[in-house]
């Protein structure tokens, strides 16, 4: 029984000899990303913390994007989604993606509204 693995990552930029080599390669990549995140979290460069993009600090956008990048490589290479049929992969990824985006969008808007109420209306909540 053949066990083919797709051995290219970064859209074919890096191709590994075998699956084991690919696993270590992905580990190195994930470690670099985590180190970068922790370094940014400790240094907190003001160019990233002082400016907002769509209501969220730039540094937090970087964290969120790097997290999704890490999640992608864990799912694609460790959970072998790269080797599954595209239809299975899409079912697994897009279903939660849409549901979660919807939920987060609604909850954050609602929370911002409640924050405004606490802040601006005649409501004593810190007595």
């Amino acid at each position: 029984m053949a066990h083919e693995h797709k051995l290219s990552i970064f859209r074919g930029l890096v191709t590994f000899q075998n699956n084991i080599q690919k696993i270590w390669g992905v580990l190195i990549f994930l470690s670099i990303v985590t180190t970068l995140e922790v370094a940014l979290g400790i240094i907190k460069p003001s160019i990233l913390t002082d400016y907002y993009l769509f209501g969220i600090k730039r540094i937090n956008w970087i964290f969120i994007i790097l997290t999704i990048v890490k999640a992608y490589y864990i799912a694609w290479d460790f959970m072998h989604l790269r080797d599954e049929k595209a239809s299975l992969r899409r079912t697994i990824v897009w279903t939660p993606f849409f549901l979660v985006s919807y939920l987060v969008f609604l909850l954050l808007i609602e929370a911002t509204y409640i924050y405004e109420v606490f802040k601006n209306s005649f409501l004593a909540w810190n007595f």
């Binding site: 979290g41 790097l66 864990i74 072998h80 599954e84 939660p96």
Partner: protein
């Protein structure tokens, strides 16, 4: 069969063994069903965390100031230990995927070795989390809580550093007794006693001119607001109790919801890791006994591996939204 997973159609499974929707075997498909639904559960928790945080965006605790400890080291090391935990979990994911790979090649002893390393990694992670909880519950500097439930922390104005209440509270000899169930109505009891009474902390504060109060409010620079000495003395009168450490009701680090979500989300995740370790141990012994050699394939290791990677995946998100953002 040309596909990559290694199920053998034996003809005695639920559908006769022939059909494989989306070319995934029954067991793997069910594991994916579980993972997707569990992912939605975790997402809901993290979204709820986001909701509460946005609601109290100006007073939310700053995670770097809460998780600053590393075992066996004194001092202020924000995030290093969580980064270590993240690395341990990613590493155990790697050994798991190596076990799956060895399983594909039917190398029993290698599967045993890598499964063993995975279990060790999982145990280190769960242990670290227990330590993290214990440190969080024990608390750091101590604080006062006002009638409205706000937290007042203390800062040394000359050094600009946080001050522990134990470093300035005076000792007022009084008879302090904890209200226990034996001493009154049987269904009520007092909260456990703090190491200093409110009066002792207040007297210590008034005696030292260099102490200022730090409120929960986050200022424009993204730091907690520090009051002047006069404002501090005024604010002190609103205090109603001493808070040390964190639990589900009181939290010396700031918003109580922060502690509640911390216990709930990392606890739920830790429970997943714990279950993962238990399942890994079961499969580890199955591999040792040669169950999958007899069966002719190691798909069970692959399915457990999927669960284990999922736990790692969730931690990546918890790490970002609890510790980084």
């Amino acid at each position: 069969m040309e596909h990559s997973n290694s199920v053998t159609a034996t003809g005695d499974s639920w559908n006769g063994g022939g059909d494989q929707p989306l070319r995934a075997s029954y067991g793997k498909m069910m594991m994916w069903f579980f993972i997707v639904s569990d992912a939605l559960t975790f997402s809901a928790f993290i979204a709820a965390y986001g909701f509460s945080r946005y609601k109290f965006i100006e007073t939310w605790p700053i995670a770097d100031e809460v998780f600053t400890h590393v075992p066996f080291f004194h001092g202020n090391y924000p995030m290093y230990y969580v980064a270590f935990m993240t690395f341990v979990l990613i590493m155990s994911s790697v050994t798991m995927v190596l076990a799956v790979d060895a399983g594909h090649k039917m190398k029993q002893s290698k599967v045993v070795f890598y499964m063993f390393l995975t279990i060790i990694g999982g145990l280190i992670f769960v242990g670290s989390q227990a330590w993290e909880w214990a440190t969080f519950i024990r608390g750091d500097f101590g604080a006062l809580e006002t009638k409205g439930g706000r937290i007042l922390q203390f800062v040394d104005s000359s050094a600009g550093e946080r001050m522990a209440i134990s470093s300035f509270a005076v000792d007022i000899p009084t008879e302090r007794a904890n209200h226990t169930r034996q001493s009154g109505i049987w269904f009520t009891e007092g909260e456990s006693m703090t190491s200093f009474s409110l009066a002792e902390v207040k007297a210590g504060f008034e005696a030292n001119d260099n102490i200022l109060i730090r409120t929960e409010q986050i200022n424009e620079e993204g730091e907690k607001t520090i009051l002047s000495r006069e404002e501090s003395l005024g604010r002190l009168t609103q205090a109603v109790r001493v808070v040390e450490g964190a639990n589900l009701i009181r939290n010396e680090y700031g918003s109580r919801l922060f502690a509640d979500f911390f216990f709930f989300i990392t606890g739920f995740h830790g429970f997943h890791v714990f279950s993962g370790v238990v399942i890994n141990i079961i499969i580890f012994f199955n591999v040792l006994m040669g169950t999958y050699e007899k069966r002719g394939h190691y798909e069970m290791v692959e399915k457990v591996g999927l669960y284990w990677h999922f736990v790692d995946l969730v931690w990546v998100f918890v790490f970002t939204f609890f510790y980084l953002v």
